[in-house]
Structures are given as C-alpha cells and as structure tokens.
C-alpha cells in the first residue's frame, strides 16, 4: 500500500513535469516577448477599416549589407495597408506590428508597444492576364532586439535551401495552424491566384503542397522547410481547400537580394 502511494506520487510528479512545458507552449497569435520568434502573427498598420494577420516567415539579411536584418513575409501581408489591403499599397516605412491587428482585436495605429519592423521593399504583383509573377514577397527592416532568427517550435533555418521535388516531405510553422507537415504534390506550377477584390494574378514556377490541413488563412508568409534537413524550400502565400501554394525560395532570395540570417 505504501509503495503504491509512492508510485502514484512519482507518477503525478512526472505528469506535472511533462505538463508544464506543454502548458507553456507559445501561441503564435499571442503577443510575444521581444525579440519575437518567426512563425508568429504580424500585420501592418493602418489596416482600418479591416483587421488582419499573416505570418512573419523568417529573418533574412541583405546580401549587400549583412548587418542589416529583415523580416521576410508576403507582399499581401507586409506590403498592404487599409482600406483596400491590396498588395503594394504600403509605402516604405509602414509599421509592422506583432501580433497582427486581427489578433490585437483592433488597429492600434503606430503604437510602439507592438512595433517589430518597418516595411522596406515588396516585389510588385502584376494582375494583368498572362503575367509571369514569381513571388508574393516583402521584407521589413528589423533589429535583433525586435526579432530573432529562430522559427517558433522549429528552430533556425539552414543557410542552404532545398529544391522542391514531387513527393518531398515539408514542414512549416505559421500563425493559424502552427507546425504542420505536408508533401509536395506539384512543381513548376503555373497557377491562378485570387486576391479578393484586388484581382486574379497568374504565378509561374510555384510549388503545390498537400494535404489541405497543411495551412489556412493567416499562415501566409510562413517559410516552408524540407522536413529532414530544415532547408528552406518556399514561401507560403496562398491555398485552396485541399492545397497550399508556395513560392520557390530561390526566387524570393534573388528578387529581394536577401539571404537566411
């Protein structure tokens, strides 16, 4: 009887030890202590009259000035401001907030409490039919006191990137669905992507990932990595009920002149 009580006590203690870290697991939609990890909720301000959120994908550095750090995400996350929230509407210097206005619950405007970066550059999206867009990407200037190079629940990405091939196992950490695993279904894909009222854009050389649970609205901007090696494969930006569309990470690096930090 005495030993049973002892065993029960030990088991209870072990359970508590296991539960503490699970209970402390970070929610990507929460306000994060600075420096914030990547893979968490961000948005621009002003987003009024709407509120929205995307994901800060990873920290990158300029190829031309390695000390200058940026947060990498989508044009339709960091390159947009209200009222339209269409890509390329945010001027340089637009404030990037963490968490995004959707997760704050309202647009606080330029409130230093939430500031993590300033929009620097976005690659314009061409909405004309037959256009050959490669990336939906933008970078925001940041400093190491605001943001870290680790991705929430994944860790830092490797400097080498991986070339997506059909059947490749991939992983991502994003604002809405957290860490999820998927499989590359198609590469070199030419695809039409709807940007609500802004238009429909044609993208080329995209990668399609399944299943539908791999991502959802708000995961845009997440970096997709090869599962075994943690090498970046792509930048998540769109999806349907059964698929996720990601940009080839090489085109993201080259079009913005950045590299993994």
């Amino acid at each position: 009887m005495k030993t049973m009580v002892q065993v029960a006590t030990i088991l209870l203690f072990a359970q508590v030890l296991v539960w503490i870290p699970i209970g402390w697991a970070e929610d990507p939609t929460d306000f994060q202590p600075r420096p914030i990890p990547m893979g968490v909720s961000i948005s621009t301000t002003p987003s009024t009259p709407s509120i929205f959120a995307g994901t800060g994908g990873m920290r990158v550095r300029s190829l031309f000035a390695p000390n200058i750090k940026f947060i990498l995400s989508n044009n339709h996350v960091m390159g947009t401001v209200g009222p339209t929230l269409c890509p390329d509407t945010a001027p340089m210097g637009t404030w990037i907030l963490q968490p995004g206005t959707l997760d704050i619950g309202s647009d606080p405007g330029n409130d230093p409490e939430f500031l993590v970066g300033l929009k620097f550059q976005s690659i314009p999206i061409d909405f004309t039919p037959g256009a050959t867009n490669l990336v939906d990407a933008a970078i925001a200037f940041t400093i190491p006191t605001f943001s870290d190079n680790t991705i929430l629940d994944i860790g830092p990405p490797t400097p080498e990137f991986a070339l997506a091939l059909p059947g490749m196992k991939v992983i991502k950490s994003g604002r809405t669905t957290g860490v999820t695993e998927g499989t590359v279904q198609a590469i070199n894909t030419t695809v039409l992507v709807s940007y609500d009222t802004c238009g429909i854009a044609r993208f080329v050389k995209q990668v399609i990932v399944t299943p539908g649970t791999f991502s959802s609205g708000g995961d845009s901007g997440s970096v997709v990595l090869e599962e075994n090696t943690m090498k970046p494969v792509g930048l998540l930006f769109a999806g349907g009920p059964f698929h996720t569309v990601i940009n080839h990470i090489l085109f993201v690096y080259l079009s913005l002149g950045v590299f993994v930090d």
Binding site: P166, A186, I187, Y195, I208
Partner: protein
C-alpha cells in the same frame, strides 16, 4: 563612377547567380537519388512550356504543374481544376506528348 558601379553590380549579380546554380545542382543530386529523375523533370518542363497556354485557356482550369502519377512511380502533369466535372474530364486531354495527365479538383486558390 556610375559605369564602375554598374560593372560591379553586374559582376556581383552574375557571381550570385552562379553560386545559386551550384547550390541547385548539389540539391538536385541529393534529393534526386532514387526518388525523382531530375533529368526527366527538365524534359517535362519543356513539354509543359509548349502546351501550358492551351491547357490554361480551358475554362475552369486554375493550374498546371509537374507531379507524380497515381501510383507514384512515374512523373505526370497535374492539372488543377476548380470543379472536377465530366465536362472538364472531356475537355482536358488524358496525356500530353505521351506524358499522363492527372486531373485534381482544387477549388479556387486564394492568397491568404
């Protein structure tokens, strides 16, 4: 002075491109081993380029790319369609230049 900057940035651009190519090559070999024939992928890219516009012009088609056949043993073209109807099956060819075509219902792709 302007000319110098221009030359410098051109050299930088070319060398960056070469470095990226080197990375790509390395990765192709590593991932390609026993998984996907990367040589064949390149051939299929050329075929895709020739027929892409024709397929994309079919109403309801939202994408075309290179993937695997149903059994996963060979490469195939994957055509994404908004809704997989019998009319759609009739409109999209079963194969393009002897490469099998897989029709997959995807709904509409939305930036999110």
């Amino acid at each position: 002075m302007k000319k110098r900057i221009l030359t410098f940035s051109m050299i930088l651009g070319v060398s960056l491109f070469m470095v990226s190519l080197a990375y790509t090559q390395e990765n192709i070999q590593k991932i390609g081993e026993g998984v996907v024939d990367t040589q064949r992928v390149e051939e299929l890219k050329a075929v895709q380029a020739r027929h892409e516009d024709g397929v994309m012009n079919i109403p309801g088609v939202v994408g075309i790319g290179i993937g695997l056949t149903d059994d996963g043993k060979d490469l195939a073209f994957i055509v994404y369609v908004e809704r997989l109807t019998s009319a759609m099956k009739a409109n999209v060819p079963d194969s393009i230049e002897n490469v099998p075509v897989r029709l997959i219902e995807s709904g509409v792709f939305k930036a999110y």
